[in-house]
């Protein structure tokens, strides 16, 4: 039993921390977010050169074949640096789906440019009525010969406005809430019948609604087998939740540290406000929340292949949602008036945490999932 990082993990962590420390200031991040796509293409290509895009992609697909822990160390640093880049959408979601379910030929033609930083991807699964239930799908795909015709609309598609290729979940059989009968298609974003409506989220990222009006796609563009897409998307989303939680923890750690430093520097009544016990205890609560969250992250990483995997993930995502928001609120409060300015980085970190809570099931949703496995209904 040990919780040490491997040599490779330590190197990954070091390379990410060094890049962010030297080349990714908060000011640079704000400039990137303000770009039309919400991130900087040159920086993305740098990520490719540094090998970060290949971390979670399997070796047979040309990637690094990294473990959950490998991805974790990179994402935690991204969190600390508040990195604005479509890593979740392009690498973890789109890359993960293609890696896990595309036929060999399609796999290479999509992953090669992705790993080179030249292709953007997205995963369109959420719908207006579905909230966090990924199996709730009204978008239909009807077979016509060796092609399918898609109709429906996906919401809040991460990187959806920018993606060159989009994986779409559509119902080919079964009822609206069935896990079976869901088919995943890889669709070129320029296909006729695909309409994007782009908008921004509070963390600055550009997302989109994507509508399909009688869009025609060849059945060779199916991932896995027809009707069997749910289990692949579930696995890929679970991997993504782990990575996203690591990013969340990185943000929580950063906010806790920033708040500590600020209260030591800020003087009122002639003394640093960090000398006040009422504030000290609140910062201890922030520290304990970080440590407890880290423990659940390690638990989820260590048990990713075990029977405890799903439960650990539910507990982790609940804690990230709740404690992330709690730490965010405390960080703003302890920064006083400065905490509510746009100028200070604190608010931007907090907004990213709020968005993270709403991705792939919020705290309440995952607590319910945990309850379903703990207590009979």
């Amino acid at each position: 039993m040990h919780f040490n990082l491997s040599e490779e993990q330590a190197m990954l962590q070091d390379s990410a921390a060094r890049f962010i420390g030297q080349q990714y200031s908060f000011e640079a991040r704000q400039r990137h977010v303000a770009l039309p796509e919400g991130f900087d293409r040159a920086t993305w290509e740098k990520f490719a050169e540094l090998g970060w895009l290949s971390v979670p992609i399997s070796e047979v697909s040309g990637g690094f074949g990294g473990s959950a822990a490998d991805t974790m160390v990179v994402m935690e640093e991204f969190g600390k640096g508040l990195v604005a880049a479509p890593y979740i959408a392009t690498v973890l979601l789109f890359g993960g789906l293609i890696d896990g379910g595309a036929p060999p030929g399609a796999k290479n033609s999509l992953l090669e440019p992705l790993l080179a930083g030249q292709l953007q991807g997205a995963f369109a699964y959420q719908e207006r009525q579905s909230r966090y239930d990924m199996a709730d799908i009204k978008t239909t795909a009807v077979r016509e010969g060796d092609r399918f015709v898609l109709n429906g609309e996906k919401t809040l598609v991460l990187n959806g406005a920018t993606a060159d290729q989009v994986v779409v979940s559509a119902r080919t059989s079964g009822n609206q809430f069935d896990a079976s009968g869901i088919t995943l298609f890889v669709i070129d974003a320029n296909t006729p019948g695909l309409h994007k409506t782009a908008y921004r989220l509070m963390d600055g990222q550009l997302v989109a609604n994507i509508a399909f009006n009688n869009l025609s796609v060849a059945d060779s563009r199916i991932l896995c087998e027809e009707g069997d897409g749910y289990w692949l998307m579930k696995q890929v989303v679970n991997n993504t939740i782990l990575a996203l939680s690591a990013e969340g923890l990185g943000i929580m750690e950063k906010l806790t540290q920033t708040t500590r430093e600020y209260t030591k520097a800020r003087k009122q009544f002639g003394v640093p406000i960090s000398s006040f016990q009422v504030l000290q205890h609140r910062m201890v609560d922030m520290f304990m929340a970080c440590e407890q969250t880290r423990s659940l992250l390690y638990r989820a990483v260590c048990s990713a292949e075990s029977v405890d995997a799903e439960r650990s993930l539910n507990a982790l995502k609940t804690m990230i949602g709740r404690e992330g928001r709690a730490i965010g609120k405390e960080a703003i409060q302890l920064h006083g008036g400065m905490g509510i300015t746009d100028e200070l980085d604190v608010g931007h970190y907090v907004k990213r945490l709020l968005v993270i809570n709403t991705l792939f099931g919020d705290a309440d949703y995952h607590l319910q999932k945990l309850a379903q496995s703990s207590l009979p209904e």
Binding site: A69, V284, Q292, L296, A371
Partner: protein, 392 residues
């Protein structure tokens, strides 16, 4: 990062499980539960553990320790709790013994450690005083040198099990010079010494486990002092972090939560079990989430210890979170018991009201308030963390 057990560790787990399977647990638990036979049952159980050689795994091997790794300690504790086996009384084996084998003289080691190991002596802890709680260094019980003895005067309070004890280990004031911490000595005192009297304190759940101990011109041989005069604070402090780590009680809380789950499946309202109740489910799983986290926090601390680090100030986190979780479980159990949680069990003619956990839930909730107070209150733990971990 790897949590899997080795083949040796799995074999050890099987060995521990078999031992607890075959242990005379039911007899012992009946004895321990009754106030009149509590000591008898406890000693009987501890002697059983000593006979197996497992009562003091943390001690140095030359004094009877097992040299277990942190992983083995974790496995042992989980198996013990899963089997429903009682924990040992900590004051001898876990608290005074480490002070003796770390700071005591060779003669003290020979004299006290074998009897502690065999549970021949029952120990209690004399730290807190009426005027010295969280501010322990303000203690006033005095010890004046008189030839080859100290004369001890004063009183100690919240002394668990003093009415059973053969010995008490005490922090006493031997000097008023310098900082309060600098004038404290660590004495081992025979409870049969003339001038000692023990008054019971009945606690909030109606049970007698706490006491106030008075010292009136009690003569204590200088040979019973640990280490140097006026260095007692240092010796006591070295052991506090270990005490806090043990207080987390992760394995016990896991068992408590499982019991709560069983009760929730049996209690009903409007024809549905309470396990189906949305608010209950939310509260239950919130505790479960925290406990799942704390289990790994403890493993992280254990793993760090195996690497030769700590336990340092981060053990405060285990104490705070561990006791908060214990109390959350107790609170949910009391709510689950509903009106039955208010019944004074002893007042019943038969003891049978068709409801078996309400009385226990009330006891646990009321006495459980102590956990965030003892071992350094949780507020003191936050002060320690703020100063020593966060540098505030």
């Amino acid at each position: 990062m790897d949590i899997s057990f080795s083949a040796e560790e799995l074999a050890f787990r099987d060995q521990v499980r078999e031992f607890f399977d075959q242990a005379p647990l039911e007899d012992v638990k009946v004895l321990i539960a009754q106030e009149s036979t509590h000591k008898k049952g406890t000693v009987q159980w501890q002697k059983h553990l000593a006979a197996q050689g497992w009562i003091a795994p943390n001690w140095p091997i030359e004094h009877g320790g097992n040299g277990w790794s942190p992983t083995q300690m974790y496995i042992y504790e989980n198996e013990r709790v899963a089997a429903g086996a009682p924990d040992i009384v900590p004051f001898g084996v876990k608290m005074v013994a480490p002070v003796i084998y770390t700071f005591g003289s060779e003669e003290q080691k020979q004299r006290f450690l074998p009897r502690i190991y065999a549970s021949d002596d029952w120990w209690c802890q004399g730290y807190s005083e009426p005027g010295a709680g969280s501010d322990l260094a303000a203690l006033k019980t005095s010890a004046h040198l008189d030839g080859d003895s100290y004369i001890v005067n004063g009183s100690k309070i919240w002394t668990t099990g003093a009415h059973h004890a053969d010995w008490i280990f005490c922090l006493v004031r031997t000097s008023n010079e310098g900082k309060p911490q600098q004038g404290i000595s660590f004495l081992l005192i025979d409870m049969t010494s003339p001038g000692i009297s023990v008054n019971p304190i009945h606690s909030i759940n109606g049970v007698h486990s706490l006491n106030e101990v008075y010292f009136e011109n009690v003569r204590v041989p200088v040979a019973n002092r640990i280490g140097e005069e006026n260095m007692g604070w240092t010796y006591a402090k070295a052991l506090l972090a270990h005490e806090r780590t043990a207080i987390a009680g992760v394995a016990d809380s896991k068992r408590g939560l499982e019991q709560l789950r069983q009760y929730a499946m049996q209690e009903t309202q409007s024809g549905r079990t309470m396990a189906q109740d949305a608010v209950f489910r939310s509260r239950f799983c919130t505790i479960e989430m925290e406990l799942m986290a704390l289990e790994y926090t403890e493993l992280r601390v254990l793993a760090a210890q195996a690497n030769g680090q700590g336990p340092g100030a981060e053990s405060s986190l285990l104490k705070i979170k561990g006791t908060e979780i214990q109390q959350a479980i107790q609170e949910l159990a009391l709510d689950l018991a509903g009106g039955y949680g208010s019944i004074i069990g002893d007042s019943l003619a038969t003891g049978d009201i068709g409801h078996e956990f309400g009385d226990q839930a009330r006891h646990d909730f009321m006495y459980g308030r102590a956990s965030t107070i003892y071992g350094g209150s949780n507020e003191i733990q936050k002060n320690i963390t703020a100063k020593h971990v966060l540098g505030l």
